[in-house]
Amino acid sequence: MRRAAVLGTGQTQHQTRRTDVSMAGLCREAIDRALADAGVDWPQIDAVVLGKAPDLFEGVMMPELFLADALGAAGRPLLRVHTAGSVGGATGVVATSLVRAGVHQRVLAVAFEKQSESNAMWALSIQPPFTAPIGAGAGGYFAPHVRAYIRRSNAPEHVGAMVAVKDRRNGALNPYAHLRQPEITLESVRASPMLWDPIRYDETCPSSDGACAIVIGDQAAAEASERPVAWIRATAMRTEPTYFAGKDHVNPRAGAEAAQALWQAAGITDPLAEVDVAEIYVPFSWFEPMWLENLGFTEAGHGWKLTESGETRIGGRLPVNPSGGVLCSNPIGASGMLRFAEAAKQVMGRAGEHQVAGAKTALGHAYGGGSQFFSMWVVGETPGR
């Protein structure tokens, strides 16, 4: 297969309300930074791929129509990707595929969410007729599955709070993070209100306005780059139904199969030993140990032990979310791409204060819907095999 690489990344300052910019301005803040980081100018961009989560969040149907000018899409192909919360990752994978297929030399991938234009809890709790009035947003959806994980794995109760402390402190090292809480402690997390029992306030992601952009180039473009690039060693996407009899909500089959395909394509046989840093989509703290298992970093039921032992901190065996992750910044449509971009920044050596020393191989991961869509990539300092 043809090689592809991340030439550069960019992201916005993420915060609750970016009332200083329009949706177009938000996207361009990330795009302009990505182009500068890649050392690429508009004439070199061959196509644009846009991702964002459900249109109900901004109340703009098909925002790619009115954003075309701002995205630099005039005179170029523009694609829109939809895969709920995983869309930022899926957008990166689609852009990679366009390059790897030999269709384009350089593709701009962009993802955004402007959550302040509405209310995500409302948008995710629309109740159709003939149903009982019990929807309670993403937290209400995922909390029972977190409870099931805790029961199944016999994980001690404090592991969720440990993840929150780690990620929020990591976020304090990331100048773009929405939540930066260097003073947070296990005690303060455990003292925070229980929102969707067993999920506490400090264990949930914020609602953010934000965007992310990535420039992906082919081998020639990567070799022409004056700065280090992140070689895309493998990508994978898998899907499964939201509900079916026997669905494993704790360890979904689509996620496990995507990971298996990803490691195989990347030539990785022992992910825990061979991956130096992982940016994993963790919107509620307990999803760190859950996804560590689903991704094959540990056996089922043992993910929490890696977290509890401190090995997922910066400096540990597998630093997870050194950027602070989704727990610190959650512009939903962009959150997956931020994981992909942060993984690339690590292997390019451009992660600043949250750089993991010597990172050569990194995972970017996203999931969306009711644990329905999975997208992931492995990037490396070298192209691999």
């Binding site: 003939f130 009982a132 019990i134 139904p241 939201t242």
Partner: protein, 365 residues
């Protein structure tokens, strides 16, 4: 007919007439149930520097266009130059008068459109602009509309910094006007704002810059159930819980549906009991717009006896003591109120039986 109407920022659920649910219909051949679903939210838009200045101008009865690198003036303004991709920074005033470049006519205006009487939808190139703006022309009759006709802005009497500050356009027999002519197009319709004075002394030209707008959006759907779900709902109206077995995997689905794993419709009807086991649950403590229950409340996944997939429902009773594996039973509302809805079951209550062993439901988590 009855309805729930929470608030402007909520979901409005209006039930169809009760006769749709009558027990006299042959449920096997009755058409699938349908009901309206209205979704509404007042979206808050932040405008950014270009659109913010444009909307501020409208509030002050001035139309601004964006000048791009090629010298063209775009109205409404673009935020980014489509040729050079650079941000637009130069906004220039254009005239409130212009020329219709193309048009169509609407005989039956819809709610929310600029006028409530027949009007022309027109592309209007304002004097000084190079692009056309889509707006309504209050021309009275279709015969009065023509390409090339001259029109002028009719300002809204009350303006807030919104595209609707232009109430509409109207025919303008006069000469082109200067960009700084803030005269209302229809003095009679806007008392107190029809001063012909020049820029600087207009009392309307004041206030803070406009940085955001509110965009109310309302979507109206007709939600139609599948034939299988209709039979399930009709059974609920008779106090029965109905499942269907997938012919391929033999799993019993409640409510019935095309089997998501095998992609085949379920056919064989299987009655399931209104007793079951809590597989897992969540205590909702968080309030949110559109919520129809007062927090805190317990939402549980209940695996009904005889079913292979849990249904979500409320657990009430022994508050704070809901457990995985707890045995529960449906608490039905008064039979006289039953309709085709799962809300016939008010909630589930603990039965006091010993908890189901974990192994009996672990495959359903």
């Amino acid at each position: 007919m009855f309805h729930f109407l929470n608030s402007r920022q909520g979901v409005t659920l209006i039930r169809l007439d009760r006769t749709c649910f009558t027990d006299l219909v042959d449920t096997a051949s009755a058409p699938p149930l349908a009901a309206p679903l209205d979704i509404a939210f007042d979206y808050t838009r932040s405008l950014g520097p270009v659109l913010g200045r444009f909307m501020t101008g409208l509030r002050d009865r001035r139309v601004l266009g964006a000048r791009t690198a090629d010298g063209r003036v775009h109205v409404p303004p673009l935020e980014y130059d489509p040729v050079t991709h650079t941000p637009v920074t130069e906004l220039v005033p254009v005239s409130p008068t212009g020329t219709v470049t193309s048009w169509t006519w609407t005989d039956r205006p819809l709610a929310g459109q600029p006028l409530d009487r027949p009007f022309g939808w027109a592309l209007i190139r304002l004097d000084g602009a190079d692009t056309a703006l889509l707006h309504a022309v209050d021309a009275g009759t279709r015969e009065s509309m023509r390409t090339g006709m001259r029109v002028r802005v009719r300002w809204a009497a009350k303006r807030s910094g919104d595209i609707r500050d232009i109430a509409c356009f109207e025919p303008d027999p006069g000469p082109p006007r200067a960009p700084d002519d803030t005269t209302s197009g229809d003095p009679g319709s806007a008392p107190g704002t029809s001063s012909a004075s020049g820029a600087g002394s207009d009392p309307a030209t004041s206030g803070d810059p406009v940085t955001g707008i509110v965009t109310p959006i309302r979507l109206s759907y007709t939600h139609t159930t599948s034939a299988e779900e209709s039979r399930y709902l009709h059974a609920l109206s008779e106090g029965r819980l109905l499942g269907q077995r997938c012919p391929a995997c033999h799993k019993v689905y409640v409510p019935p549906r095309v089997c998501p794993a095998d992609g085949v419709p379920t056919e064989e009807e299987v009655p399931v009991r209104d007793h079951g086991t809590v597989t897992t649950f969540c205590v909702v403590n968080v309030p949110f717009p559109g919520q129809r229950l007062e927090p805190p409340y317990v939402v549980a996944q209940v695996l009904l006896d005889g079913a292979d997939i849990p249904i979500p429902h409320l657990i009430i009773g022994q508050a704070g003591d809901v457990r995985m594996g707890m045995r529960v039973a449906a608490v039905w509302r008064d039979r006289a109120t039953w309709t085709t809805t799962p809300e016939n079951i008010a909630h589930f209550r603990p039965t006091g039986e010993p908890d189901a062993p974990y192994e009996s439901y672990q495959e359903h988590l």
